[in-house]
């Protein structure tokens, strides 16, 4: 495979970030630059104000996490959400809902809450996003286990190559309750969002060009950030976010499938 042979490229016009000790992109970027220490402050999940109150009450942690990161990237880019295509990438959706449903199905009554059931779909965040923003454009929800961030990035970049219109990528994951946690340990809730466009707009942060590679994924020297990167599928984006935060160019290799990774060439914007 040769690098740079694909049309997979984009400007990053907006960034969202939410994770332990990474309260938003502004604060998180300072941590990634080494200007602030990385603390283990738990993630606070805002109730999405953009949703009607009935819908807002029905949202779980996963949807709130995804919407918060997505909205930060959208506002950072200064774009309207209503016509924007979106890609939601998550390894497994909402573990708390899955636990509730499977627990209920293990009882003689097998009573499932209808709201829990429709919130259990992998595209729940995509659905609530479209309702919150009146977003009627294409929206997808995909998964590639620990490589879900890169799977989402590839889908977003190939959409951009195909339509020429901006795409919002949101990658997110919440930790699971026991007994699922033992089977699928997710270190912490974490979400990141990238608003990708063919044009830089007024203040793009960086230009990206992606290609597949067999090389191993980059790791991070800071142990607490590396624990996040390795422990949450969406946090596999951290080596890329760190370069962008530091306005550094160069090449990062991001985790994807068992035998395949994604190389991203980064050019910081002035």
């Amino acid at each position: 495979m040769t690098a740079g042979t694909t049309g997979l490229k984009a400007y990053v016009r907006g960034i969202g970030l939410l994770g332990p000790g990474l309260a938003d992109w502004t604060l998180g970027a300072a941590v990634l630059r080494g200007e602030r220490p990385h603390t283990s402050t738990p993630v606070e999940l805002p109730a999405p104000a953009a949703l009607p109150s009935a819908e807002r009450r029905r949202t779980g942690a996963t949807v709130r996490l995804a919407l918060a990161a997505g909205l930060e990237a959208l506002h950072g880019a200064g774009l309207e959400g209503s016509g924007l295509a979106t890609v939601f990438a998550s390894s497994g959706g909402d573990g708390a809902i899955c636990d509730e449903i499977c627990s209920a199905l293990a009882t003689p009554e097998r009573q499932i809450s209808p709201t829990r059931f429709h919130n259990s779909v992998h595209n729940a965040a995509s659905g609530y996003w479209s309702i919150a923003l009146g977003a009627t454009a294409a929206s997808t929800a995909l998964a590639a286990y620990d490589g879900s961030f890169v799977a989402g990035l590839l889908e977003a970049l190939s959409q951009l190559a195909s339509t020429g219109r901006p795409v919002l990528l949101v990658a997110y994951e919440t930790d699971y309750p026991e007994p699922l946690r033992t089977a699928r340990p997710i270190a912490a809730p974490f979400a990141t969002a990238l608003l990708l466009d063919a044009n830089p707009g007024a203040h793009a942060a960086a230009h990206l060009q992606a290609s597949l590679t067999g090389q191993p994924a980059d790791t991070l020297p800071e142990s607490s950030l590396e624990a996040l990167r390795a422990g949450v599928p969406a946090a596999r984006a951290l080596p890329l976010l760190k370069r962008i935060a530091r306005c550094e160019g160069g090449r990062v290799v991001l985790d994807y499938l068992n035998d395949l990774r994604l190389a991203v060439n980064i050019t910081p914007c002035p």
């Binding site: 595209n123 659905g127 309702i131 699928r184």
Partner: protein
Amino acid sequence: MKPLALSQFTATSAIGRGLAETLAALSERRGALAPCAFETVALATCVGEVGQLEAVRLPAALARFECRNHRLALLGLEQDGFSAAVRRCAARRGAARIGVLLGTSTSGMLQTELAYRARTPAGALPPGFDYAATHNPYALADFVRRVLGLEGPAAVISTACSSSAKVFGAAARMIGAGLIDAAVVGGVDSLCLTTLYGFHALQLTAREPCRPFDVARAGISIGEAAAFALLEPLEDVADPEAIRLTGVGESSDAYHMSSPHPDGRGALAAMRQALDSAGLEARQIEYINLHGTGTASNDSAEARAVSTLFGHTVPASSTKGATGHTLGAAGALEAVICALSLRHGLLPGGLNTTAVDPALEVDYLTETRRAPLTRVLSNSFGFGGSNCSLVLERHPGGA
């Protein structure tokens, strides 16, 4: 969009294993919905169950993927020489140049449901439970990629009942961007308790076999299926009459999580976009395979959207009266049914529908019709307001 060929395709559902059985059932109007006897389910509803899945054996090297969804996936891959054709394609193009993009709604979730029943006294899941290889959505693409020996990009799209229609669009974009040269697309969804009890909780399952577009329609019948296609650039395929994917449209309702917009706003946008990307006018479509689930609101919203765009004269039907609603597999299953319709000039009449609802202003077929077809449309709409429409074509003589 640049058209792609479905150089190979196959489908396995309750109405048959592989294309010949599927075509025969559609031609002879044989449905497969029967009262639910699945697992320990005690619900008064009908299902489209694929028989003898218990007899399917996974390769020893892939034993950790053991679950109903992967037995169904493997059974599907083995029909119509599909796996062999993909391996030939991989030998020709390189295994790293072929993507795997599949849709599912519940993947192998049944394993987790069973594991919860078998929790230890301390509340732990039983030893041997393998979440990554069964329940996780990506498990499906991981399994299929390993079975086929492919090494290219892979992902599972899980947008409820539009999942395996949307994979056609994702694959076309990846091919268009030069990331891959060809893609295995498809969908696999299998019966599990979550969907059966979940749709029951939403009061969306019918007691009798589902009756799409009927005045007395009372809900869905859940089915299961595995359907696959190999997508390749048209110019690489020798058969001039190969079925072509020429249009994809995707939209969001932005309305409600489990009810469609009453006017079918999102459905209309998806169909319009599919026609635009195919460069076609509505009058050029000769048959519509409707999403047609058989719930009051879904069929009503879809009928409004279809009649707004196509008027009242394009023949349309839902094949869910035969197969049941195969959820995340429905998009791919019905794309393959459309491919069969094009190849054999068959417009399958919808089953179980005896009195078409006069409020639904579409030309709903209740009898199977024979006519040469060149351009058809397939609709797939899901929870979260996720909509996808596909245009498929076949041109006699390769024109």
